[in-house]
Amino acid sequence: MSSARGRFGSFGGTFVPETLIPALEELESAFEESWADSEFRAELDGLLHSYAGRPTPLTEAARLSAELGGPRILLKREDLAHTGSHKINNCLGQALLAVRMGKTRVIAETGAGQHGVATATVAALFGLECTIYMGAEDVARQSLNVLRMQLLGAEVRPVESGSRTLKDATNEALRDWVATVGETHYIIGSVVGPHPYPFMVRELQSVIGCEASQQLGDARPDVVVACVGGGSNAMGIFRGFVDDPRVRLVGVEAAGLGIESGRHGATLSRGVPGVLHGSMSLLLQDEFGQILEAHSISAGLDYPGVGPEHAYLKESGRAEYATATDAEALDAVELLAKTEGIIPALESAHAVAWVAREAVSLPADSLILLNLSGRGDKDVQSIAGYRGSLTDG
C-alpha cells in the first residue's frame, strides 16, 4: 500500500496551511523514528497491556448467531479496552510521541466523546495540558462523556460554528493548532487529516487486527466487518487481514434517516473526491465544493469525510462499503444486548446491524469477525430518548 508523500493512490496528501508544515514534518520523522525503535514499541506495548488492558478478547457470539440463523460470529472486544473503545490505542501512541517531541499540551476533536475521553485520559497519565473541541450539538447529546473529560482534567470547548458537530470541532482544533503549534500536539482521533496522520493512526490501530489474527490461530475469517466514520477502528482491524485476498473486508457507514433522505453520513457510498481537514478523500459536498452536513444517530459517524485509505480501498475494490440506518443501529443495540449481554456503542451497532441483515445470506460455515469498537454506556440516555420518541410517535 502506497504511503509515498502520504498518498494512498490519488487520495491523502498534505492540504494544510504553511504554518502547520513544520509540525507535520516533525511528527512524521518522530513517528518513523519511534516506530522503528524497539524501546518505543516496548514502552507502548507495555502501556497497552498494563494500562489499557490489551489484548482485548475475542468473544464467540453464539446466541447472536443462533438468533440470526446464520454463520459463526466472533466479536473483537475493543469495548473492553480502557476508556471503553479502541480510541485509547491511538491516544497512548500519540501521547508518547508528544512527550518525545517535547510538547506540553495536547488538543483533540471529538464527536461521540470517545476520542476526547481517551485523549483526556492519556493527558492525565502523562501530565499534559489538554483541550478538547466538541461540537455544541454533540456536547448536548453526549453529556456523560463531557463530564468524564472534565473529571480527567481536560477543558472541553463547545464549538458553535457550522453544523456544531465533529467537522466543526475539527476546524476549531486546527485553528487552535495553527496558533499554538510550538508547544501543542494535535492528537487526531481517526485515520483522517494530513499526512502522516492517516498512516500513523492506522499503524497505531493495527494492534486490533494483528491481535485478532493471532487469536484466531489457524482459523481465517471469511468476513471482517467494522463501522466507518473517519474509519480508524475499521482500518485497525482490516490491517490484520488486508494482505489475504480471501478475506472479505466490509466497512459499514451511517445511512442516517436513509440514503435517499439525504440525511446520512455515507461518505464512501455517496461522496465525491475533495479536500477537507488536510487530505484528499471522498466527501459529502455540494456542486460548489461546500461541505454538507452529515447526519447519524451516532455522533462518531456524523462526519462528511472519511480516511483517505478507505477511499483508496474502495476505489481499488479491496474493501466494500455498506450502510446501516439509525433505526437499524438502534435495533442492533437491543439485539446484541439481549442475545449476548453486551451493549455496543451506537457506532459499533452499525456493524452489528450489517451482520444482522446479511448473516442469513452468507454460507452457513462462514466465520464473521466483527469489530466491536466501543461500549454503549455513553449512549444509554440518548437511546432511551430515541426509543421514547419512537414509542410516543
Binding site: R5, G13, T14, F15, V16, P17, E18, T19, I21, P22, S161, G162, K167, D168, N171, L174, R175, V178, A179, T180, V181, G182, P273, G274, V275, L276, H277, G278, L283, Q285, E287, F288, G289, Q290, I291
Partner: protein, 368 residues
Amino acid sequence: MAEVLGGPGGELEAALLEKKAAGRKVLIAYLTGAFPSVEGCVALMREVADAGADLIELGIPFSDPVMDGPVIQRASEAALQSGTAPADVLECVRLADVPIPVAVMTYFNPVFRHGLERFASDCSESGVGGVIIPDLPLEESGEWEEIAKGVGVAPILLAAPNAADERLAEVCERSRGFVYAISLLGVTGERDSLSEVASAIAGRLAPMTNLVVALGLGISTPEQAAEACQVADGVVVGSAIVKRVLEDHGSPAELVAAMRAAMDAEKDPHCLLCRAERVTHWFYDDDECWIAECDQCDTPMVVWRSHGMPADEVADRLKAKLESVAIEVYGEKGYWFDPMMRNIPDHFHCHVRPAGGFFGPGSPLATG
C-alpha cells in the same frame, strides 16, 4: 529570473512592483466576496479602491475556513446562507471594474470541485489577477501554479513565520504577484498589537525576492499597518474591514483611508513629534493626530501624525479638533490659535494659548 506572466496576473504583479519602485507601501484590502450582496460588495470594492487600497483581495466563501477567525467565518457563513457561489464572487469583480488589481482568496476544495483549469480561466476572464489558497502548501500546489500561470493568473503563495530559510526561498521563487507573509502563528482576526514575529518574517523574506512582501493576519489598525510597513512592502487588512461590514458601524472605506494615511506618513526617527511619546497629559488622539499638553508652555497642542506639512483642509480639520479641547480648557473665546512652529518647524503642530497670554495655566511662567 521568473518567466513573464501575462494576463491580469502580469498586470497585478507589475502594478505592485511599480508601487514598490516608487517607494509607496502596498495596502491590500480584504472583503468577503458577494457579501452582504453582489451589489453591496461591488459598492464596497469601489469605496475601498477610492479610499486608497492598492489591491483588493476578495474571499470566495468556504464552509470550513480553517485559516479564518470568527469575523471572517461569520461573514462567510452569512454569504453561503444567502446562496453565494464562486461565480457570484467573480461577477463582483467584473461589475466593480475597479482601477486596481483584484485577487481572490479561497480554500482548495471549491477550486478542486470547480476544476483547476476552469477555475483559473474563469478567474482570468473575470479580470482576477491572483489567487490565494491558504490550505495548499508547496507540497500540493505545483500543478495549480502551472495551470494558473498558463492563463495569466498569479499563484500567490504564503510564507509562514516558522518555516526554514530554504522553504521561504522556495516560496519566494514560486510565488507570483506578491509574497503573502503570515505575520503570526494563528488565524485571521484582530489583535491588540503587531506580533513580534511579523517583522522577523518580513525581514527574512525581503532579501529573497524582488516581489512585494505583504504582511497579513492580525493587522487591524493604522498604527499596526504603519509599523508593519517599517519592514514589509505592504499589508493585508481583513477582519478589521469585514467587521465594519458585518456590524454595519464605521465605514470600511474610512478605515482604509486612515491606514493609507498612516502608511504614507513620513516618520523621522529623530523628530520628537514623530515619536509621539506620552510624556505629558493627552487630551485626545485618533488616526491622524494627537492633542497633548506642550511640555514647554503647558498649553494644548495638536500634532499631525505625519512628519511634514499637511494640505490646508487637513490642517483646518486638525485645528477644529484642537478647538474643542481649547473650549474645554479655556472656555468659549478664552483662547487664541498660535500656528507658529518654533522648535520643530518641519512637523505640523499648532498651539492654543489663553486669551491675552502665552503660557498655559499650569506653567510657572503663566500670567494673570
